[in-house]
């Protein structure tokens, strides 16, 4: 599709084309009718393999980094530097007894983790991991991604309901309130991207972010005022959608034991864990695609690095951000959580819609008009942010203390 480019372009570099060459080598000998099927299967295998391994090592990275941030070494006994820890964990999870409570709804109890993992994987199909590296080329890929993501809420509620445990039920209640609240800002923050890029297709959105202003400033959406605001809203909503700290209310261990996971053990528990990381990775991958230029290199002279490597670096940076946030912040309360969404993120994202529209309408402004364009867009971010933050933080703040008269 985009293969018709000048011979010297980075798209022709051998490393850049390596995945495609490998695919062709593996499927080239097949009859034409079979080739799309086999290459689709190959894509699935690669996605499962790469993200399965990413999940395994994310858990290790999380425990190690959390450990270092907390003044302790983290797992370091299994293999060199604890590198075999994920496999030890997997064996443990597989060999553990699978306990189903007697009162539980057995079918739903079994289905919940399976459905959750399946739905978490679906979104990865439309992410362009590199130049021409997308499993399914969809015209409405963004819509598809969020539709698949929204369905994960059901399985968390299934888990909470089917366990017949009061903690699980409370967690399911919280999960529904939380996920539905954050679905709105998540989607609203994506709309300006679609408006500006003029496409619902992920490859189209990445292509719209190619090139550099003045040769050094990438055209990434996150590097514009409206895009930065949308990126921030998206990432906060993504934190909440993937049940990560500080929005990990459904599995708040200090309140609800393990929330909807209380009655799960062994491999089903591991599946929930896997789904959490896959969901996190999928949303981060989407954030990279929508706001951070996808597989595009940040600088022209860095284009010799293959596109999928850039994608991987950006994805890992976002995932490390998730871990860093987890090590730093306490948890919100459920009413504060929903208030943050409805009274802060949603209005911010709505104003940002206007901002995105303004940016799209003024695409041809240049010279001094471009400066005005940036200023207006920045004001449309800062003013609502300050106003909304003020109203959100009403009622609390730092205090001064007295001493008893002696």
């Amino acid at each position: 599709m985009i293969l018709a480019v000048a011979p010297a372009s980075p798209a022709d570099a051998w490393l850049e084309r390596a995945p495609l060459l490998l695919r062709d080598a593996l499927t080239g000998w097949l009859p034409d009718a079979l080739r799309p099927w086999v290459s689709a299967l190959l894509s699935i295998a690669v996605i499962l393999g790469v993200f399965g391994l990413l999940f395994a090592y994310m858990t290790l990275a999380e425990r190690k980094l959390l450990g270092r941030m907390q003044n302790r070494p983290g797992p370091n006994r299994t293999g060199p530097f604890g590198l075999l820890q994920p496999f030890a964990d997997a064996i443990k999870a597989l060999t553990k007894e699978d306990i189903v409570p007697r009162a539980a709804d057995r079918v739903l109890h079994f289905l919940a983790p399976v459905v959750l993992v399946a739905l978490s994987l679906l979104g990865l199909a439309v992410i362009p991991f590199g130049r021409n590296l997308v499993a399914v080329e969809l015209e409405a890929a963004v819509l598809y991604f969020f539709a698949a993501g929204a369905a994960t809420e059901l399985s968390i509620f299934m888990a909470g309901w089917a366990s017949r445990n009061k903690y699980s039920l409370l967690a399911a209640m919280r999960a529904l309130a939380q996920l539905i609240s954050y679905e709105v800002p998540l989607l609203l923050s994506v709309v300006p991207v679609v408006v500006v890029a003029g496409s619902l297709s992920t490859t189209g959105i990445v292509a719209a972010q190619g090139g550099w202003a003045a040769g050094i400033w990438p055209h990434w959406h996150a590097l514009t005022p409206w895009g930065f605001s949308a990126f921030a809203v998206f990432m906060i909503a993504a934190l909440a959608e993937s049940n990560r700290s500080p929005f990990d209310l459904p599995e708040a261990e200090s309140e609800l034991i393990a929330g909807h996971l209380t009655e799960y053990s062994g491999f089903k528990y591991a599946l929930f864990f896997m789904a959490e990381y896959l969901g996190m990775a999928a949303l981060s991958a989407m954030a990279v695609t929508l706001f951070l230029g996808g597989w595009q290199a940040p600088l022209g002279l860095l284009e010799f690095v293959p596109s999928y490597a850039w994608f991987g670096v950006k994805l890992l940076l976002l995932l490390l951000g998730f871990i860093w946030i987890r090590a730093t912040f306490p948890r919100l309360r459920i009413d504060q959580l929903t208030r943050l969404s409805w009274k802060f993120l949603v209005p911010l994202a709505l104003v940002n819609l206007l901002n995105g529209g303004f940016w799209a309408a003024t695409a041809d402004w240049s010279g001094p008009a471009a400066a005005v364009r940036w200023l207006v867009s920045a004001l449309l971010v800062v003013v609502p942010f300050v106003a909304l933050a003020r109203s959100l933080a009403a009622g609390y703040g730092p205090r001064t203390y007295r001493y008893a008269p002696s």
Binding site: Q70, M173, A327, P330, R331, L332, Y401, Y403, A404
Partner: protein, 400 residues
């Protein structure tokens, strides 16, 4: 919608307030009309946030608490009755196990009661060493409490780990002095069992000098944190009138705005010789309870500074002071000190024999826990967890 059948949902047992002539206690929280069934949940005894084997039997309307019944006694070990069958000295190591984070202050309060009962004078050096150990214990307790409270707020262990790093340093000091990290059993009647060496005092000096920097770091991360403030301010308010009438003591009372500190009020030991202030809160909510403790630690550092500077020489314990086989004259005495959790007191009645005929512990955790339901009504489960955390209980002391 229909209101749920009260008998089926536990609504029938929604609290009745008895003996509330002053009208101080929080009125019952009415569940939302037509909200559907109430949910009765048992938080504990095996629950990550109950700080030991403690159970909260809560009735919930959604996430709001309609009733809360504290259930304890899982760790009861007949401490007070055992004290009546044990010699005066024999009870000393048992007191370590009351509030097992603060054996130093437990020992001191008990020694004080016996010294009052038998009229034993305390050596000058021991008085200073007691202050040093008690204030170290206060640092240790408040640091742990802040860490645990933040853990209850949902921090993924970070503040707790840093709090425990400091706690370990203090425990190392305790260990090198007494031979035990937590069950120190240091006090004797008229002095202390062990005399701190010059090296120990130098190590303590180093710790005290570095503690302020740790508090700065800890507070920079947490005290001004938006989420911490949003979670803790206005939650679990304890009005000063209820606090006084319920017998609340310690940082919890001071957070409600009552400047009552036994170190000032009684002036026991050599505390009147030191310059320190008593921080008080205004709202009496979880944030005030946290901040009062943080500020108290700064004052403890000031006291330690002065005590280490002025520590006199001389004997730590009069060898003639009777320990084993002590037989005080018939009578009674109450010894109390300002422990890290509040007023820890021992009441002893002697009939002239080697054992007390009555041995009674006034445990601050236990008394402070009595207002738990008043603090929690109308708040959510998540709030109940941090309210309990901010009360600072140790089940060894509550259940005895």
């Amino acid at each position: 919608m229909m209101l749920p059948d009260p008998a089926a949902t536990g609504l029938a047992r929604v609290r009745k307030i008895e003996g509330d002539a002053l009208g101080l206690r929080t009125p019952a929280f009415a569940p939302t009309e037509g909200a559907g069934d109430l949910l009765e949940v048992s938080l504990g005894p095996h629950h990550p946030s109950t700080h030991g084997v403690f159970r909260m039997d809560v009735v919930l309307d959604g996430e709001r608490i309609v009733r809360l019944k504290p259930v304890f006694g899982y760790l009861h070990r007949n401490h007070e009755k055992l004290g009546e069958a044990t010699s005066y000295l024999g009870s000393m190591p048992y007191t370590d196990r009351l509030d097992y984070l603060n054996s130093m202050t437990n020992n001191w309060a008990y020694a004080l009661a016996v010294e009052k009962l038998a009229g034993i004078p305390v050596t000058e050096r021991a008085e200073y060493v007691r202050v040093v150990l008690a204030e170290l214990s206060r640092l240790l307790n408040h640091t742990c409490l802040a860490g645990f409270l933040m853990q209850d707020c949902g921090c993924s262990g970070t503040p707790l780990m840093y709090a425990f790093r400091e706690r370990e340093k203090i425990l190392d000091l305790f260990e090198s002095l007494s031979g035990s990290r937590m069950m120190c059993n240091v006090q004797r009647f008229g002095g202390c069992r062990v005399d701190p060496s010059a090296e120990w005092l130098a190590a303590t000096r180093r710790l005290v000098d570095g503690y302020g920097a740790f508090l700065d770091e800890f507070e920079a991360l947490l005290s001004g944190n938006e989420i911490v403030m949003a979670r803790t301010q206005g939650v679990g308010r304890l009005p000063a009138a209820l606090a006084v009438n319920a017998g609340i003591t310690g940082p919890m009372l001071r957070a409600s705005g009552v400047g009552h500190d036994l170190r000032k009020v009684d002036g026991y030991g050599v505390y009147p010789r030191f310059n320190f202030r008593v921080p008080i809160g205004r709202d009496g909510d979880v944030y005030d309870r946290y901040m009062v403790r943080m500020l108290e630690m700064r004052e403890s550092i000031a006291i330690l500074d002065q005590a280490l500077r002025d520590l006199p020489g001389g004997p730590i314990l009069d060898p003639k002071a009777k320990q084993r086989g002590l037989r005080p004259k018939a009578g009674e005495a109450y010894g109390r000190i300002e422990g890290p959790k509040g007023e820890i007191g021992f009441f002893l009645v002697s009939d002239g024999t080697g054992n007390p005929t009555r041995y009674r512990v006034r445990a601050p955790s236990f008394v402070n826990l009595t207002v738990l339901e008043d603090l929690c009504l109308g708040h959510t489960v998540a709030d109940a967890v941090i309210i309990l955390g901010s009360i600072d209980i140790v089940l060894g002391e509550v259940d005895r």
